[in-house]
Symmetry: C2
Subunit: 743 residues, 2 copies
C-alpha cells in the first residue's frame, strides 16, 4: 500500500524504481549498441519501462520503472512461492487485487523481475557476470527526504521504538531491519552492565569477582534473549523458515542434475560429503592464520616491550613507533592475503546458495578477526604479566640489532632493571575499547564522507576552471591533442532534470552496502565486553555511549556513503549468533583466569609476582568457572524455550487456521451428513441394537454356525442385558464385608 | 487394513478389543450395580458393544468391541486433529472410506473412544480417578500367536530388519517401536567398539590412549546418528511434531482459563514463570540426593576396604558381607524415599501434559540413578587409588567397633601393612558390566516369570485340593463358617470360553508396562561404556552380547509379564537423548583422567604411586580432552545436519504438495486467465506500448501538465527510442581506445 510518504518519495525520485548502469568503456561501439538494445528489449519484455540518460563518458544510466499490471503479477508469483514453502500462512489473493505490502517488497520484487532467470519470469540480468558483464550496477535510489527526517528524529531520542524498526524494515528490507533491531537490543541491554560496571569500578576497582560473575550472567541472558527475539521478529516480519527459499548461487557448479520428487523441479546436486571433505581444509587454514598473525603480533609485542621498557638509548621516542608501524603495516597486509586465501577456499567448497556461501566465509574470516582483535590483549594478560620476568631477559637479543647504531658504552651503561608496568594491561584495554572505537567510527563514517565531498568539490572546481578555458563539451573535435586540459564532462541534460541526474551520478559512484561488516564490528565489540571487561569495568559504559552514536552513524553511512541496498530478506543475523555464544563461552574462561591472576592488586594492577600463581589452582578455577557457565547457560536456555514469543504463538495459530480453512473447503456433503448425524445421536434405544444384532445373528447363524467370536458376542444383547448379568454376578458374591476380609 | 494375521488374532481373542475391569469389592452392592449400569450405558453410547463376565470374587470383566461405523468416525476425527496440527500431511478422507491403518491405530482410537472426555467424543472413563475409580484396568489382550512367532523368528537372527521394527510399531505403537529401534541401533553400533575393544585388550591392555580416543569418538557419532535416526523414524511413522498434540494431564490444576485465539478452544493456563520458580526446588533436591546416597555409599565403601584389606581378625569371611548387605539394604531404601520426594515435587510443579510430567520426573530420578550407578566406581578410581595411602590409616576408627568382639592381642598382632589392591578397580568394573547385567536380566525377566508360574501352580493345587473336599462353588450357603476350608473360585463359564477366560484372568493380574524403565536401563549401560571402559576394554563385548539377549528378553517380558500396552505415539525417546549426550560428555572427562592416572601400569593395574600424579597436569589433560570432545562433537553435529535423512526430505515434499493442492483448489478463473495470458505474452510490439502510453500521455497531459515524473517518463516512448538515444550517446563519446586511456 503506497502511503503518502512513499508516494512523495517516488515522485521525488521521478518515479524511478531502479537504476541500471551499463558501461561501454571496454567494448567497441557497435557491440555496445547491440548489447544496449538487447538489454532494453529484455527489460521491457518483463514489463519495465525504460529511460536512458548519460552516466559519464563510459557509461549509460538506464532508469527502470515497473508497470502496474506486471508488478502485481510478479508480486503474486513471489507470494505463491512463499506460500508453497511455508513462509507465508495466508493464501495469496488472486492476481487482480495484489499490491506490494511495503516499499521493500516492491523493490525486492522489481529486483527479482530484473535478475531472476527467464524460466522463473525475470529478465535474467546478472550484473558483472556472464553475458551481462557490462552491466555494472543495479540499485534503487535513496529516499533522501525520509532519510533526513529519520536522522533528525532519532538524534533526539534515546531508544528506537518497535514502530521505528518496522519502518526501517518497510524501507530497507528485513536484513537491514534485523541489524538495527540487534543493535537496538544490544544497546538497551547495555544499560545494566554500564550502571553496574560504573558502581563496581567506583567501589571495588578492577578484577572483582562480583563484577565478573554478573558480567558473564549478563552475556548469557543477552544471547539467549536475542535468540528468542529473532524468532519473534521473524514471525512478525513473516520470514520464518526462510532458509528453504534461498537464492541459488550463480557460480555453483553442480555435479549432476536430478528431479526433485516433491516439487518436480530440476535441481543441481553436489554431494554434501564431498563438500565436507573440502571443508576440512579449514583446519590447516586456521592454523596457518593463527601462526602468521600470531608471529607478527607477538614479534611486534616483544619489540615494543624491549624498546619501551628495556631500551634507554637514543631516539627512544621515535623508535617506540617502530612496532606500531610494523603492526599497522604488517597485520592488514597479512590479513588481506589470508582473506583472499579464505575466499578461494570458499569458492572451492562450491556452495549451493548465497547464504551458505556467506556463512562459510564468515566462519573463516572470523578466525582472522579473532586473532587480530584479541591476541594483543591475551598476550599482555597471560604471557607478559605472569612470565615477563623470565622471558624479558631473552629479549636482549634485540640489543644486537640496535648495537650497530648505538655506541657500546651507551648500551651497557643504560641497561636498566626490568620491572613490569602494572598499568599496561589496563591501558591496552582502554585503548581497544575507547580509542579504537572512536577511531573506527571516524574511519568508517566521517572520513569517507569528507573524502566524497572533497572529491566533488575538486571536480566542480575543475569544471569551473575548465569551462573558463573554453568549451568543455566532451566529444567535440580538436581537444584531444592537448594534454594539459583534461576534458571535463558536461552532460546534455534537460534543464529540469539536471539536479536529479547530478544526484543520481553521485549515487552511482558509491559502493554496495554489506550488512555483515557492521555485524562483525558489533560482535567483536561484544567480545571485548565478554573477555576483558573485568580488567576495566567501565568498558560497558564506553560501549553504551559508542552504540548510541553507532546506530545513528550507521544509518547515516547507509544513506550517505553507500548505494541504497536492494532489500534482502532474513530471519536471523546468521553466523554471528553462534559467534556471540562462542565469545561468551571464551569469556567465561578468560574472565575467571584474569580475576584469579590479578585480583591481588585491584587498584594498581598486577605486580607480576609469579610465585603466587599456582598452575593447578588456575586450572581448577577455569574448570569450575567454565562448567558453572555451561550449567547456567543450559538453565537459561531451558527457561527461554518455555516462554514462547508472542508472535511465534500467533504464527502457529495462523498455520492451524490455514489447515482448518483447507479442511472446511474440502469437506463433502456426505461427511457433513455423517458428522451431523453423529452429533444428533442420542443414546440409541436398546431395542435398536437388539434388532439389528438379531438380524445380524439370524443372517450369520444361517451361514456360519461355528464362529466362536460371534457366539461370544451374542450372549448378551445390549447393555441392559449385560447389566443384568453383571448385577447377578455381583449379588452372587459374598457380602462386601466378608469380601473385604477375604481380600 | 485388517490383514490375515490381524484377523486371525482378533478371532483368537474372540474379537475382543479391550478389557475393562470393574472392581466392586469396596462398595456396597446396590451402588456397584448402579455404577455398572452407568458404565455399560456410557460405553454403549460411544459405539462399543459390551459383554460382561466374572473376573474374580470382587471384580467383573467387561469385554468391549467397537462397531465398524463408529470406529471409522473416531478414526476420522483423530486424523482430522492430526491434520490440523500439522502432524499428518495428507488430508483425511471423508468419513465413509476410512479404515485404521494399523492395529496400533485401531487400539489407540478405541482407547480414545473409552477415555476421552465427552466433549471430545469419548466415554470419559478415567481409570482409578474421579467418578470411575472402581474401574481399575483398561487394556487390550495379547496376540499370543504373533508374539510366539516373532520370538521364534528373532531368536534365529542377529539383526532385526526395518520391516521387523515396522511390524513392532504396527502392533504395539510408536513409543515401543522407538525403544526397540533404539535398542537395535545401539546393538548394531556396538559391533565396532566390541571388535576394537577386544583387539585393544589383547594387544595393549587397559588404559590405552588410542582406545579411549576411539571410544569417545564412537560415543559422539552414535548419539548424533541416533538424533538423525529419530527424525527419520518420526517422519516415516508420521509422528513428527507430535509435541503440539500432547494429551493433557488430568491432575493439572490451571490458574485461569483463556480462549486460545488461534484454535478457539478454551485452555487452562498456569504461568510458566511460576512453574519455573517451583522447578528451582530441583537444586536442593539434587544436593540432598547426592549427600544422602553419597554418604551411605562412601561409608559402606570405607567399611569394605577396612574389612577386606586391613582387618585380619576372626569372622573375616562373614564380615566381608556386611557392607554388601548395608548397601543392598540402605541404597534402595533411601532411593525409594528420594523417589517419593521427587514425585511429590513433580506434582507440585503442576505440569500441563503427561509428556511434560514424565520428562520432568525423569530428570529428577536420573540424579538418583547416576549416583547409585556410578559413584562406587568413581570412588574407587579417584579417591581410593590416588589417596588411599593417606586416608586408609584413618579407617582405623573402625577397629574401635570391632574391639569388643575380638581379643586385644588378636587385633594388634594381626595389624597388617596396607597395600592398594591394584585389581580392585578392574574387578569392580567387571562386576558392574558383566555380573550386574546378568543379575539384572534375571531379576527383570526370569524371576517374575517363575514367580507367576509358581503362583498359578499353587492356585491350581489349592483348587484341586479344595474340590476334593467338597463343592467349592463360591457363594453357596453353609461354607462361610468353617475357617479351615478357604472358598475356592470356580466360575460359571460357558464351556467353550473357559480357556479364553482363564487366559484373560491371568492377564488381568499383570502390571502395566512402562517403556521409560527399559530406556533408563539402556542409558545407564551406555554410561558405563562412556565413563569407565578404558579400565577394561572388553566392556563393549559384554554389552554386545547382553543387548542381543536384552532385545529378545524385553519383548518376552512385554508379552509374558505385562499387560499389552495401550499403543502410545512418540517422536523421540525423550529426555534420555539428552542423558546420552550428557553421559558422553562426562565420559570425556573421566576417561582422560583415568588414562592419565593409571596408564603407568596397563596390565597390573595402578600401584597408587601418588608422587607421579601432578594436579596441574591432570587438570590440563582434562581441559584439553573435554574441549577436544566439544570441538569434535560440534563438527559431527554440523556434518549430520547437512545429511538430511531420506524420510525427512519426503515429509518436506509432502508439506509442499499439500499446499500446492490447496492452492490449486482455490485458484479462480481470473487468476488462471491472467497467468495464461502471462505465459502467452510474446514481446509486446513497440507500437502497443507507444499507443497506450500515448493515450495515457494524452489523458494525463490534459489533466496534469506539471508532473515532472510523468514528463521524465515520456521523453522516450518504448525501448527502441531509448535504444536510439543510448546509441547516440555511445557514438558521441571518444572512441573506446581513448576511452580506456581516460579511465
Amino acid at each position: 500500500m503506497a502511503t503518502t510518504s512513499e508516494a512523495n518519495a517516488l515522485r521525488y525520485n521521478l518515479d524511478v524504481d531502479y537504476v541500471v548502469r551499463y558501461s561501454f568503456g571496454n567494448v567497441d561501439q557497435s557491440q555496445a549498441i547491440q548489447e544496449l538494445e538487447k538489454l532494453l528489449r529484455t527489460l521491457t519484455s518483463v514489463g519495465l519501462q525504460t529511460e536512458v540518460r548519460q552516466g559519464d563518458e563510459t557509461s549509460l544510466l538506464i532508469f527502470v520503472r515497473a508497470t502496474s499490471k506486471r508488478l502485481k503479477r510478479a508480486v503474486y508469483r513471489s507470494r505463491v512461492r512463499d506460500w508453497l514453502y511455508g513462509i507465508l500462512n495466508a493464501e495469496p489473493d488472486s492476481a487482480g487485487s495484489i499490491e506490494p505490502a511495503t516499499e521493500a517488497e516492491r523493490l525486492r520484487v522489481i529486483n527479482q523481475m530484473i535478475t531472476l532467470p527467464a524460466e522463473e519470469g525475470g529478465a535474467g540480468i546478472t550484473p558483472n557476470h556472464g553475458e551481462w558483464k557490462n552491466v555494472t550496477n543495479v540499485f534503487p535510489l535513496h529516499d533522501e527526504e525520509t532519510n533526513k527526517k529519520w536522522m533528525r528524529d532519532w538524534s533526539k531520542k534515546t531508544f528506537l521504538s518497535d514502530e521505528d524498526l518496522d519502518q526501517i524494515r518497510d524501507k530497507f528490507g528485513e536484513s537491514v531491519g534485523f541489524y538495527f533491531s540487534f543493535l537496538q537490543s544490544y544497546f538497551r541491554f547495555l544499560i545494566f552492565p554500564a550502571v553496574f560496571g560504573f558502581s563496581c569500578w567506583f567501589f571495588l576497582g578492577g578484577y572483582s569477582v562480583i563484577y565478573t560473575a554478573v558480567n558473564s550472567l549478563w552475556c548469557i541472558i543477552f544471547v539467549e534473549y536475542w535468540k528468542r527475539q529473532e524468532v519473534d521478529l521473524s514471525c512478525r516480519w513473516q520470514t520464518k523458515g526462510l532458509s528453504v527459499v534461498q537464492t541459488p548461487r550463480r557460480e555453483f557448479k553442480p555435479e549432476k542434475h536430478v528431479r526433485d520428487e516433491g516439487t518436480g523441479e530440476m535441481r543441481g546436486i553436489f554431494p554434501a560429503t564431498k563438500r565436507m571433505q573440502r571443508q576440512l581444509l579449514q583446519i590447516p587454514f586456521a592454523i596457518l592464520a593463527a601462526i602468521a598473525l600470531g608471529v607478527i603480533i607477538a614479534t611486534c609485542f616483544a619489540i615494543e616491550i624491549f624498546i619501551s621498557e628495556l631500551y634507554n638509548g637514543p631516539f627512544k621516542t621515535y623508535l617506540v613507533f617502530i612496532p606500531t608501524i610494523l603492526v599497522s603495516a604488517g597485520v592488514p597486509t597479512i590479513s588481506a592475503v589470508l582473506m583472499s586465501i579464505a575466499t578461494k577456499l570458499n569458492d572451492f567448497e562450491n556452495h549451493e546458495t548465497n547464504d551458505g556461501y556467506d556463512v562459510a566465509l564468515t566462519q573463516k574470516v572470523f578466525v582472522i578477526n579473532f586473532i587480530t582483535s584479541y591476541l594483543p590483549v591475551l598476550l599482555t594478560a597471560f604471557v607478559y604479566v605472569p612470565f615477563a620476568s623470565r622471558i624479558v631477559p631473552y629479549l636482549d637479543v634485540f640489543r644486537l640489532t640496535v648495537r650497530p647504531f648505538v655506541s657500546k658504552e651507551h648500551c651497557e651503561s643504560k641497561k636498566s632493571h626490568f620491572q613490569i608496568d602494572p598499568a599496561r594491561l589496563r591501558n591496552q584495554v582502554i585503548y581497544f575499547t575507547v580509542t579504537a572505537q572512536i577511531v573506527g567510527l571516524a574511519m568508517e563514517t566521517i572520513v569517507p564522507y569528507l573524502k566524497q565531498h572533497a572529491f566533488r568539490k575538486y571536480k566542480e572546481y575543475k569544471k569551473r576552471n575548465g569551462n573558463g578555458n573554453g568549451n568543455g563539451k566532451a566529444g567535440q573535435n580538436g581537444d584531444k591533442g592537448s594534454p594539459e586540459r583534461s576534458p571535463i564532462m558536461t552532460y546534455d541534460d534537460p534543464a529540469e532534470e539536471k539536479e536529479f541526474l547530478k544526484r543520481v551520478r553521485n549515487e552511482v559512484e558509491l559502493s554496495e552496502y554489506e550488512v555483515t561488516d557492521d555485524l562483525r564490528e558489533m560482535c567483536i565489540q561484544f567480545g571485548y565486553l565478554a573477555l576483558f571487561s573485568p580488567v576495566w569495568p567501565l568498558v560497558p559504559v564506553s560501549f553504551f555511549i559508542n552504540n548510541w552514536i553507532e546506530l545513528r552513524s550507521d544509518f547515516f553511512k547507509i544513506c550517505m556513503e553507500f548505494q541504497r541496498p536492494t532489500p534482502l530478506r532474513a530471519d536471523t543475523i546468521g553466523p554471528w549468533l553462534d559467534t556471540l555464544g562462542f565469545l561468551s563461552w571464551v569469556g567465561s574462561i578468560t574472565s575467571a583466569a584474569l580475576v584469579y591472576l590479578f585480583s591481588g592488586n585491584p587498584h594498581h594492577g598486577p605486580n607480576g609476582d609469579v610465585t603466587d600463581i599456582r598452575g593447578w589452582a588456575l586450572l581448577l578455577v577455569i574448570f569450575f568457572s567454565e562448567h558453572l557457565y555451561l550449567i547456567i547457560r543450559y538453565a537459561v536456555q531451558t527457561a527461554m524455550t518455555r516462554l514462547e514469543p508472542p508472535h511465534a504463538r500467533k504464527e502457529r495459530a495462523e498455520r492451524y487456521l490455514m489447515r482448518k480453512r483447507y479442511l472446511d473447503s474440502t469437506v463433502t456433503t456426505d461427511t457433513e451428513k455423517d458428522l451431523q448425524s453423529d452429533k444428533d445421536d442420542t443414546l440409541p434405544e436398546t431395542p435398536e441394537i437388539s434388532r439389528s444384532a438379531l438380524e445380524d445373528d439370524a443372517r450369520r447363524s444361517s451361514m456360519h454356525d461355528t464362529d466362536p467370536a460371534e457366539r461370544f458376542w451374542q450372549r448378551q444383547h445390549g447393555w441392559t442385558e449385560s447389566a443384568e448379568i453383571g448385577a447377578g454376578i455381583i449379588r452372587a458374591q459374598p457380602s462386601s464385608g466378608s469380601a473385604k476380609k477375604q481380600q
